[in-house]
Symmetry: C2
Subunit: 412 residues, 2 copies
């Protein structure tokens, strides 16, 4: 029988009643003829409670013990989901990560999946089991200790299972009904997308559209796993959601797929840096070492052997960036007149694979912002994305204006 | 280094603060030169919460899933205890049942321990680890699924580890500071015992003194594990508790060690049973099949081929016992005039290995009860125990009178 992977997040299994509702969706797919692998998160709130216990006990905790404690949340949900399915006469059993086994590296609390041998679960499917309920987010290290995959790891677990078992599709059930052209709280014209390309989803995910974990999208892209995002709260049958798929599976699409934003940005400018070969490395090396996540980088026109270097980073890393730059200056590694931080900015981006073949997207974007009197502070572009930094107070206005300018409320 | 097993029950690890206090006791034994195996229960209330989830989800639950869900409570405590010890600079790590491995039968939810290979933990002790924190109550079945040992299974886990590792002693930390000559809430003269023999403890445990699980005492007796019961709430150093040990290790003792009681008793009498060979089997066979836990049995004087048969059982099994007797009568297996149930009785017992070599204990007991005007309804005796059924309203008076009569407040 074809295999389907269904993943239910914490809010979708927050109570026994919600577990029952999720189980009904699983039962429907079994009736449709699928053998189903269900990946479950911990009941909403449980993981935070357990992490709180660990952090209060030991601020610089042993990650191996953290994993033993925190993985228990998914263990509970997996058992309860299996019991619920059995009550519905669906042959099901639970699997812990170590029972599958889902083999990972030994990087505890942030392990990476190495291998999922399908033999054990396939043997049970052959014996008539219809649903394998697997505790998400957890695996086993070479030394036989429990690992976890880091926050959002259950999405990654689901995609990895879909890849390992050649599943027809991986359905991610969550508390939103799909991926939107932009945040519906900001633009009332926001429209749910039927399909979106992996590359677009990756850009949107890393830009702060928190529907899917970036890692899970990367993995799905690499193994060509069809990924569907849909709500576990709507009526059954009315939940097509959004399919995240290969570019080739999208017949017709808008040039721009969506407008993303990020409030949490700071702009930093090193004034009058001595311009010489290797100066960029001399600046961004120390920032990387200090753990600063540099996002956009712009080097202004150089005059008389000096230049201004601007970069952006999360607001809460400004102090760290300043300290790293000061230290590098004192060590004589770089030379600059001043370092100016602007923490009142936001990033707005338009994303779309159609940009590759359509000119004029940037011009249209800049014109729409100009029409609203919004000043652009920094611009960066990639093959399928244009991002700008603007004053944070204009962020919502910019998102609305861009959504309207590219007519994202209309289907292509 | 010599090995010590220390077990902490649910109330002793109910909060992070109590886990810290328990960890200090462990640290002290490490400083004393022991390698320590710590067995932990789930935080108080957790197991009940998880059992509630399972029962609400599936009244006739699959015990394998029950075990997966319920065992998670001990997993959390084990990790937190290991982290707490590490914070105190004590080299420690947690072990789940399946990691040790603690191998059990596949009787899920009521599994029995088959084997605890000590190699894995001993190897870590040799590498410098000083404390192995083991999740109590759980193990692994031959099919690689998690099992639990039934309620109170953490005591049994602790004794089994002490036996498997040849531990010097097994310390059971609980919320009482030892075993008493009787319930201090009933007799203000009750005295904590320094030592008690396994056989006495077994009788007291099965008579309702809920300090230790009967199974764990049986196991300790079989493998000659020195078992100490002590409080995790008192001051450190002031906690000698009670040592449960081999009879030979008790130099001097009172004839009677303690007075036990059980409120939850019913007396049932089959009136005028046809007295013939095999009649007892014809009565108690159907009762056993119906799941009635028959305790005391007395057959009265036989007259004209008929006899009265009296037995006791827990109050909540009276209906079940009546149904079983009615059914056996209708099937023609037994014949009696009437079945009379008296649910207003209690059982009071005196227990002591000294009875074996001392005559007159029964006489003294009956005299003490007579002096208080208490009528005895049923008497049974074993080698080290005399039990009587009396009206429940006299129970406390009887316990006090017997405690005084045998002068249990005095050390032998």
């Amino acid at each position: 029988m074809p295999i389907l992977v269904m993943k239910f997040g914490g809010t979708s299994v927050a109570t026994l009643d919600r577990i029952r509702r999720a189980a009904k969706r699983v039962g429907r797919e079994v009736a449709n003829g699928y053998d189903v692998i269900v990946i479950v998160s911990a009941m909403a709130g449980e993981t935070n409670k357990l992490v709180g216990y660990v952090e209060e006990t030991s601020p610089l905790f042993d990650a191996r013990e953290y994993d033993a404690v925190v993985s228990s949340g998914e263990q509970v949900t997996a058992g309860l989901m299996a019991l619920t399915l059995q009550e519905m006469d669906v042959p099901a059993r639970s699997w812990q990560g170590w029972q599958v086994p889902l083999k990972t590296t030994d990087a505890h609390a942030a392990a990476r999946i190495e291998e999922i041998p399908p033999a054990n679960i396939l043997a049970k499917f052959e014996q008539g089991m219809r649903v394998a309920v697997v505790a998400g987010f957890q695996g086993i290290a070479p030394d036989n200790r429990i690992t976890t995959l880091g926050r959002g790891g259950s999405d990654t677990t689901a995609v990895a299972f879909a890849a390992a078992f050649g599943a027809e599709r991986c359905d991610i059930y969550t508390d939103v009904d799909g991926v939107y052209t932009t945040d519906p709280r900001i633009s009332e014209n926001a429209r749910k997308l039927d399909r979106i390309a992996f590359e677009e989803m990756l850009e949107l995910a890393s830009l702060g559209a928190k529907v899917l974990q970036t890692r899970s999208v990367e993995l799905a892209m690499r193994y060509k796993v069809k990924l569907r995002v849909l709500s576990s709260f709507g009526e059954m049958g009315d939940d097509a959601g959004t399919l995240v798929c290969d570019e080739e599976d999208i017949v017709e699409s808008n040039v721009v797929a969506g407008v993303a934003y990020s409030r949490d940005e700071a702009k930093m400018t090193l004034i009058s840096v001595a311009d010489r070969p290797g100066i960029a490395a001399a600046i961004f090396g120390p920032l990387a070492e200090a753990g600063v996540n540099v996002d956009m980088i712009v080097q202004n026109i150089s005059e008389e052997g000096r230049t201004d270097m601007t970069f952006s980073c999360p607001t809460n890393q400004v102090a760290r960036a300043e300290a790293a730059m000061k230290k590098a200056k004192e060590a004589g590694e770089i030379n600059f007149h001043d370092l100016v931080a602007d923490t009142g900015v936001a990033k707005v981006s338009v994303v779309g694979i159609g940009m590759r073949s359509h000119a004029g997207v940037a011009a249209k974007m800049f014109q729409a912002l100009r029409d609203e009197g919004i000043n652009i502070k920094v611009i960066t572009t990639s093959e399928i994305k244009i991002s700008v930094l603007i004053d944070r107070k204009y962020m919502e206005l910019a998102v609305q204006a861009l959504h309207d300018a590219f007519e994202l409320e209309k289907v292509a």
